[in-house]
Amino acid sequence: MSNAIVFTHKDLIERSKQGDTKTQYKLYALYVEAMFNVCMRMVKIKEDAEDILQESFIEAFKNLNNFRYESTFGAWLKRIVINKSINHLKLKKLPLITIENDNYSIQNNTEEHQDNHLNFDVNRIKKGITLLPQGYQTIINLYLIEGYDHVEISEVLGINTSTSKSQYHRAKKKLIEIMHQL
């Protein structure tokens, strides 16, 4: 990642570290909507998303001195939001992974085959995701939309990377099936 990207909003971040409330608000205003979308994708209920958002920003600002530009501020903040969202799902006892009896041991060439015969459309994908079981939705969101790799997902969900991979492939297979039916 180039330095220019990593140091995005450096001035605002540094002033926020000093406790400048106006700058903290500016930083909040810049990221609140993107983080709200992350929350909504994860927990789906607006009130819950707002609660998580609030807790995440408080934690982020309180721990801002620990942010050392090893990633972008957005990625750092998103990690906090996602962790909070996962904790929220755990508290609600919602499954983080989906266990199905069907055998979804999909070969890559089969996936490619399926992909090539599907006309992609953002709205159909979004609709398809909502029809997935909760565990599949989580892994699809994390991998496909939030851009996490399987190592990061395994850390966030507390599973191993191979489980993450298999979960993703199953989820994707299910999603494509659903999309075919839409």
Partner: protein
Amino acid sequence: MSNKFEKYVEKHKLEFDVHTIDEASKLRLWGQIAPQLTKPTPKVIPLWQKPVFKVAATIVLLMGCTLFFTLYTSNINQNTIVNNELYDIDNHYKVLVNNQITLIKHNTHLTEEDRTEFLTLIDDLDQEYNKLKKELTLGINNQKIIEAIISNYRKKIKLMEDLLNRSYPINDTIDDEAITL
């Protein structure tokens, strides 16, 4: 390995951000966040409310009082000694000075000019004496001041003796006759 599906989603990622948050909600949320970001003012426990400090303060106060009274008493004692010493000196030298003054008063050989000069010198010495007496009350290096007072008296007596010596007529004839005899 990303395939066509992942690539498509990656390309249209922003279109998945469908939720918006209005300004009112933004401000409302910030209103709940901001108060938690202000650093709480550290609770200050006044030092004097600590029992340890109270004990220490009492000890210091007692020590201070003891030291003050010790020094004060010692100073009083020292002043008494100095005053007694000064009283003795004054008594001793005043007698001598008064004797000399009587002699000067009764001396008919003194010119007016000699008297005026003598009085001026005596005035200066008196001023010096008063100044030294004042310094004695300060209690700084009393021994030296006492010595200076004694020296002052001696100067006065010496002046008077010199004046009287100068005023008496010298009778050379008598002396010569005595030698002849």
